[in-house]
């Protein structure tokens, strides 16, 4: 079937909706909602000034939203961090240091004996409390270790196809450790794991949302638009899909997916599974909206002008849902980021020794960690920050796309 192309249409519709008028010429009988923006377009082309183009207006509306702009910047930084994770992380993400398990974050010092000596850390010494068996660390004042920059050491990582072992900062491996955010149960550097884990966590949601929204919008749209037996069929399919419980499916899958698969395959497989289960709810909502809109004047007008049905659904009806879709998409993202950690509970998610934020946060979910190793909660802070950024960005985009908000 021609599904892929259709999916592209759906995506295009999404983008067109956000930025009301791009290069594509509006089809005849364009939806009512656009009426005002159409006139804006008409007047702007007449005047020929950039300043009043809808895109520019949207941009201006967007930049006026402080949270939106800040969020965009934060997300940009996060994605850059993910891209340069190998370079930014001082340690290898899988190397275990049995002499440094559950080590708290090391403090960076600059002054030694009253003199400025540049950034350095003290090496920590591990001691187990003889009564409570709590592992405690103490700074060893006789072992200051300078933090160096642009170090070449450790295992190689690949960056854009290059293999390198250049790290932005760290301490010389021969002299000791530097764990800026402490370590986990195996003495692995949490900071490095968070950085590398961001590669998974910042993409899993986007890809998942793209897949499930494409299917959901398309099938929900068709269902509501055509009604009759098609509606009935698609709705029954969604009911079946929604009825089949996720946990047993995932449990069955966890025994089927071979352990040999490299982490990236499993990762993609999981996203696909999550997305294929996830579209049904959205399809219901889209259908409800389409039902309400299909008999509106502009739709009937488009139909009477002979516009193909799919075109009407995707270009005339769906853009009305832009608001809803942007918001649901930004709301669905954290579900993927966190949901991925629930999968690892079933042995399905990102596998050790790879990392993702959800998986890292799982280590913090017991009283022992909350009491004794609170730094393990840091991935949670990052999840929160990214979710916050996505959602504020979503709100700002929604408002920017809303032509009547001026």
């Amino acid at each position: 079937m021609q599904q892929p192309r259709v999916v592209c249409h759906a995506l295009e519709a999404l983008f067109r909706a956000r930025y009301p008028l791009t290069t594509a010429s509006p089809p005849p009988g364009r939806r009512k909602k656009r009426a005002s923006s159409m006139s804006t377009l008409a007047s702007s082309t007449k005047r020929g000034t950039d300043r009043s183009s809808p895109l520019y207006l949207a941009w201006r509306r967007f930049t006026r939203s402080k949270p939106g702009v800040i969020s965009a910047v934060v997300l940009l930084i996060l994605y850059l961090i993910a891209l340069f994770a190998g370079f930014l992380s001082p340690n290898n993400l899988v190397t275990q240091h049995s002499e440094a398990v559950y080590q708290p974050p090391q403090r960076v010092h600059f002054m030694r004996e009253g003199k400025w000596v540049g950034p350095f850390v003290y090496q920590l010494e591990k001691k187990r409390d003889p009564v409570t068996f709590i592992v405690k660390y103490q700074e060893n004042p006789t072992r200051p270790t300078a933090i160096g920059f642009f170090l070449r050491q450790g295992e190689r990582y690949s960056f854009l196809g290059f293999k390198t072992n250049l790290h932005l900062f760290g301490v010389a491996q021969t002299e000791g450790y530097f764990f800026p955010l402490g370590t986990d149960q195996f003495g692995r550097c949490l900071f490095s794991r968070i950085l590398v884990g961001s590669q998974v966590s910042l993409t899993v949601g986007i890809i998942g949302v793209l897949i499930s929204f494409s299917i959901g919008i398309l099938l929900g749209g068709i269902s509501g638009y055509f009604g009759g037996w098609i509606d009935n069929l698609i709705q029954r399919i969604t009911e079946v899909l929604l009825s089949i419980p996720r946990i047993p499916i995932l449990m069955a899958l966890s025994t089927v997916i071979p352990a040999r698969w490299p982490s990236t395959w499993i990762y993609l497989g999981i996203i696909a599974v999550l997305a294929f289960i996830g579209w049904a709810g959205l399809a219901r909502v889209v259908r409800g909206q389409v039902l309400a809109l299909r008999d509106m004047d502009y739709v009937t007008a488009a139909r009477s002008l002979g516009a193909p049905d799919l075109r009407i659904i995707l270009w005339h009806i769906v853009p009305n849902l832009t608001s809803y879709l942007i918001v649901s998409a930004t709301l669905a993202l954290p579900g993927y980021i966190i949901g991925e950690s629930a999968l690892s509970f079933l042995g399905l998610g990102i596998k050790e020794p790879m990392a993702s934020w959800g998986l890292l946060l799982k280590d913090a979910q017991n009283f022992q960690a909350l009491n004794l190793y609170p730094w393990l909660l840091t991935p949670g802070i990052l999840i929160f920050v990214s979710v916050l950024a996505y959602n504020f960005l979503g709100d700002a985009l929604r408002d920017a796309a809303d032509v009547r908000s001026d």
């Binding site: 909602k33 419980p245 047993p248 449990m251 069955a252 509106m296 979910q365 408002d399």
Partner: protein, 323 residues
């Protein structure tokens, strides 16, 4: 309207059958099960396991087990037998249904009662401080896994010396008759599960409501209503909110099966006496007829929810007609 209802009910039967078939297949795909785990006990020999398998008809072909299960439902209204509990599935579910329905209804009502007004408020006061604060709390809710929220709340209660760290009652009130003291004790426990279960739902409903309402507020008919000089209150509630709520109704229909299957992990951490943990345990043990009955109940509720949502859609939105 009535023919529509009748049609839907007729269609529901084959759908339920299809679902039951799929669910049965999924259960058969599950690894493990109680029979295998019995072997770890020194009392049990493989021969015993084989005999018990035969006793429960698990040595028969899968399709025969399925048909037998189906036949018993149709002929005797019997949803099967729990291998582990040596009891009928329906009596086991019945025992646990009360609190499940109570909690689910309460959390759904609370979620909606809080989220919809907040959504409206944040839509009207888009850039206000209170609105942003509400958003922030909402984001916190969706960005934190529910079991972490549960754990954090429990840790908070513990650090303040409280004893309401799980369940719905203090131990001495679990099997006590109803009294004001028992009610008070329950209220003291109830807020934690309500926050844990409700927080995520509130955030998403609120944000969706805000977006929908903002959309609707810009529509021509709202403008028309305004220009006609209608009071803002009337415009907002009678025209805007009623339309903005459409997508939410579809969602509400989907929340009915949550009675059974949602928040399983949070219910386990919070030790809630609901069906979720029971379903999970039955799944692990592969107590197949318990799982079947629960999942079919869940599917049934989903279909009822969808049907109700469709009717509510038609009622709330005059543009929708079912022919």
């Amino acid at each position: 309207m009535w023919t529509f209802l009748l049609k839907r009910i007729l269609v529901a039967i084959p759908t339920l059958l299809l679902i039951s078939l799929l669910v049965f297949a999924v259960i058969q795909l599950q690894p493990g099960g109680f029979l295998q785990n019995m072997l770890d006990d020194p009392r049990v020999s493989p021969e015993t396991v084989a005999r018990i398998r035969a006793q429960y008809g698990l040595d028969q072909p899968v399709w025969e087990q399925y048909l037998g299960w189906l036949k018993n439902i149709v002929l005797h209204g019997d949803f099967g037998f729990s291998f582990l509990n040596n009891r009928s599935v329906s009596s086991l579910i019945w025992e646990r249904l009360g609190w499940t329905v109570f909690l689910a209804v309460l959390s759904i009502v609370a979620t909606w009662a809080i989220a919809i007004p907040l959504g409206i408020y944040t839509a009207i006061n888009r850039h206000g401080l209170a609105a942003n604060l509400a958003n922030l709390i909402g984001y916190l809710g969706i960005a934190t896994p529910d079991f972490l929220v549960a754990l954090l709340l429990i840790a908070l209660v513990l650090s303040t010396g409280g004893s309401n760290v799980g369940g719905l009652f203090s131990p001495q009130y679990i099997d006590a008759p109803w009294s004001w003291a028992r009610l008070g004790d329950m209220l003291g426990h109830l807020w934690i599960p309500l926050i844990v279960i409700g927080l995520e739902g509130i955030a998403s409903l609120m944000r969706q409501m805000r977006a929908n309402l903002l959309d609707v507020l810009g529509q021509d008919y709202v403008r028309t209503a305004r220009s006609k000089g209608l009071a803002e209150r009337v415009v907002l509630w009678k025209h805007a909110v009623r339309n903005a709520i459409n997508p939410m109704i579809s969602l509400a229909g989907l929340s009915l099966p949550n009675l059974i299957s949602s928040t399983i992990i949070a219910s386990i951490v919070l030790n809630l006496p609901t069906i979720g943990p029971f379903l999970y345990q039955s799944l692990l043990d592969k107590d197949q007829y318990v799982v079947m009955a629960l999942l079919m109940l869940s599917a049934f509720m989903l279909m009822v929810g969808n049907l109700l949502a469709d009717l509510a859609l038609a009622w709330a939105d005059p543009r929708i007609r079912y022919e």
